[in-house]
């Protein structure tokens, strides 16, 4: 597994463990020590370290969740206007026997996949596709919508600007706001700015423990405010982007606990936690009448923001 820069102590212990195995020593004590070390590191993560965990290449991807939790799944492609965006996937899946519309960001598990999916940054075609399937779920199929968000932001490129990136993001948000079905959003990794908000308007917004949700990535914030990227750790703290702080600010409705050591270390446990949460939240949302849900959704966004007279 790829170890993160702040996991140096673990790396040293793992090397030692390898040596012990070579000599045929019993590694029980050492394993205990490693576990303790991981616990110590993960109980005291700084905001920027959480960002690094959220970006870990081996974190469970939407495909992992779908394969493990959904009885069956069919992907829906294309926005019917300009093309197909692989970085943003949509499709119908059966969760515990009931259909849901899934919308998710894709990053891939390898560098090659990463490049192919622009690290999960969607172009305009992706957002238009999201808008299309939301309307499909809301007007025709009448099934709840679940979005799994893991993107550093919306794609910025010459082509995407001229193909109407900002307009596409608006169209997607508009479709989500007007949807006549319950919407559940989960930020599984990175929740980057408009890319995340474009598919993140929801009745319940959840975050995984080591995910982040920010208006701008710490690196870019540092570049804008300090004109260099040396202050990314400091600015990550200032921005208040962790699940814990966002829950305290009443932006996020709940945190999905991750095993100590992160979802990339203990995938199965993380997926199990996700299953429990999805089941609970969907049951809760389905019980509410749609008109109430929509009214609450409007109110929820109406009341966001702090200012003084």
């Amino acid at each position: 597994m790829k170890l993160l820069p702040f996991e140096k102590p673990i790396e040293i212990l793992l090397k030692e463990r390898k040596r012990w195995i070579e000599y045929g020593k019993d590694t029980k004590d050492l394993d205990e020590l490693i576990k303790k070390q991981v616990k110590e590191i993960y109980n005291n993560l700084t905001a920027y370290q959480i960002v690094q965990v959220a970006r870990h290449i081996e974190r469970p991807q939407p495909e992992d969740y779908i394969n493990a939790l959904f009885d069956s799944f069919m992907e829906l492609h294309g926005d019917r206007v300009s093309g197909e965006e692989p970085a943003l996937g949509t499709g119908i899946g059966f969760f515990k026997g009931a259909p849901v519309m899934l919308i998710f960001n894709r990053k891939g598990h390898t560098t090659i996949e990463n490049l192919k999916y622009h690290s999960g940054m969607s172009g305009p075609a992706g957002f238009r596709k999201a808008a299309r399937v939301v309307r499909l779920a809301s007007e025709t199929l009448k099934i709840p919508i679940v979005t799994l968000i893991d993107t550093p932001g919306a794609l910025i490129s010459h082509k995407s600007e001229l193909k109407g990136q900002v307009a596409a993001i608006y169209q997607s948000m508009s479709a989500f706001i007007n949807a006549n079905v319950p919407i559940l959003s989960v930020i599984t990794g990175e929740g980057g700015s408009l890319g995340a908000l474009g598919i993140g308007i929801s009745d319940r917004l959840l975050m995984m423990e080591y995910a982040y949700f920010a208006v701008i990535s710490p690196e870019a914030a540092s570049a804008v405010l300090f004109k260099n990227t040396n202050n990314k750790e400091f600015i990550a703290d200032e921005l208040g982007i962790t699940a814990e702080r966002l829950t305290a600010l009443n932006i996020v409705d709940g945190i999905i606990e991750e095993p100590i050591g992160g979802a990339h270390r203990f995938k199965e446990e993380a997926i199990k936690n996700m299953e429990k949460t999805l089941e609970k939240e969907l049951d809760f949302l389905k019980k509410e009448p749609v008109s109430d849900l929509k009214k609450k959704r409007f109110e929820r966004f109406r009341n966001i923001g702090v200012y003084s007279i």
Partner: protein
């Protein structure tokens, strides 16, 4: 050979004389223009047609009939929710900018008449922290949308903003959702939303602006997802300015029209005239 080329993009106004004959260098062609002359000409360069940036008050004067603009509601102020500090604490930044810009937040809203037609008007003021969308600004923008819906008025908003305000972090980002949620309700009720894009309109504010039923851009304005520094940081290479130019966006089919400043009022009036307000 770049060192020998004349840099014609000098932003600092060149002052000659004792305040009377102030001259400004044009960002477009590099010529010196007398400030008085420029002001008379709606801040458009008489030589090359470059549109200088207007303050919120100037934009209101440009669009609404003389003396008809009335601010609605109580002015509200931005606060430092997160105790944010970058190069200077956000609290100090706010204090300083309030003295300089003389507005409480980055938008002015009110009831106004455009060619004697009643309109709800919102104008971003770029002079207040680059017109960024803080919580107070978002709240005021939402108020004018609700005002328009309640009074069955068409809504005209002049956008000029660098996007979300980093200092208010997540609250700033979610203002985009808040405003779009209000706009959707307004549009569903049959309202007309005309958005006017003045240089520049970036980030989430551009997404809001794209909600317009009719979108008019000013000449030589830039509209896009992010400013140059963010795109350079995120994509590891600079985005050419051509991609966000209003002229190119018109060609790409993303906006309805580009309008010169002289004709802007006429243009907005034309749209408002075509709107059957009795229908809503």
């Amino acid at each position: 050979m770049d060192i020998f080329r004349r840099k014609n993009k000098i932003v600092v106004p060149v002052i000659k004389g004792n305040g009377e004959n102030v001259k400004v260098r044009c960002n477009g062609c590099g010529r010196l223009i007398e400030y008085e002359e420029l002001k008379k000409n709606f801040k458009v360069c008489p030589y090359c047609g470059y549109h200088f940036r207007m303050s919120a008050a100037e934009n209101i004067a440009l669009l609404s009939d003389k003396g008809t603009f009335e601010e609605i509601g109580e002015p509200i102020h931005s606060v430092d929710v997160l105790n944010f500090t970058d190069t200077v604490p956000y609290k100090e930044r706010l204090k300083k900018i309030k003295e300089v810009a003389k507005v409480p937040n980055a938008i002015l809203i009110g009831k106004s008449k455009i060619q004697s037609m009643e309109t709800a008007l919102g104008v971003f003021s770029f002079e207040f922290l680059s017109g960024t969308l803080g919580a107070a600004t978002g709240e005021r923008l939402t108020e004018i949308i609700e005002f328009a819906q309640k009074n069955k008025l068409p809504l005209v908003v002049v956008f000029s903003s660098a996007g979300e305000r980093i200092q208010e972090s997540i609250f700033s980002l979610l203002q985009v959702a808040k405003v779009i949620s209000a706009i959707e309700q307004y549009k569903n009720s049959g309202g007309l939303f005309v958005s006017i894009l003045a240089n520049p309109v970036l980030g989430g504010v551009a997404s809001i602006a794209m909600a317009g039923n009719i979108i008019i851009a000013e000449k030589n304005s830039y509209i896009g997802l992010s400013g140059p520094r963010i795109s350079e940081q995120v994509m590891k290479k600079a985005l050419s300015k051509e991609a966000q130019k209003a002229e190119n966006l018109l060609k790409a089919g993303m906006i309805d029209a580009i309008c010169e400043r002289h004709k802007l009022k006429e243009c907005v009036g034309f749209i408002l005239k075509s709107y059957n307000r009795w229908a809503i």
